[in-house]
Symmetry: C2
Subunit: 121 residues, 2 copies
């Protein structure tokens, strides 16, 4: 399925996804066009799901980083899931943990006060 060149491409794009196809090609010993075709294929196969940036959250005012263990009482998780959807501003990631009906919620906050407010909501 994936050959060495594909793995190299994934590795290079993980490090810098805004590299030009020409440069990427040079790194993996292909022309820009060939590299571009490989990348398109990886996208088509759903292996590359998207392109994003890493943001320094503390520099934009979110200095508190928290990982919160969520234990849902009811087996219906919908109320919880719609709650975190509304709280998008604070939520970085919501991990569903296997076994127990439990989540790990990775969040960012401007202050501990706001974290406390969030926790008591």
């Amino acid at each position: 399925m994936l050959d060495h060149t594909d793995r190299q491409i994934i590795n290079e794009l993980s490090k810098n996804s805004r590299i030009t196809m020409k440069e990427l090609g040079e790194k993996v010993h292909l022309t820009g066009q060939a590299a571009s075709a490989r990348v398109a294929k990886l996208e088509d196969h759903g292996i590359i799901e998207g392109y994003s940036i890493k943001v320094n959250q503390s520099k934009i005012g979110y200095s508190v980083h928290a990982i919160i263990h969520i234990y849902t009482k009811s087996t219906n998780h919908q109320p919880y899931l719609s709650f975190i959807k509304k709280q998008e501003e604070y939520v970085l990631h919501n991990y569903k943990i296997s076994g127990e009906s439990c989540y790990l919620l990775e969040c960012k906050f401007q202050s501990n006060d706001i974290l406390d407010e969030f926790l008591t909501t």
Copy 2:
């Protein structure tokens, strides 16, 4: 520090960091050149730390995703930290948790057997 346009730019690049500066400019009502200058400034200020891709790990053979709570016995974390450095293939993220001398380790594995092997190392 950050105005509305900067926040829009961060938002758009979070969704798709391979957008062209021209398109980004259109989204935030600037020319490509102006958008590019804004982005360069965000990079210079360390707000944008990097550009990356989201990879579907299960499609490249890592079907097991685990979050492992690490309790270090000794206060010297160096042995642990150098261990996870060697295990880069499996490690997605290592979170230092406040308070207790403890980490949360987010990992990927090809199988539960390999996870077990990792846990007993």
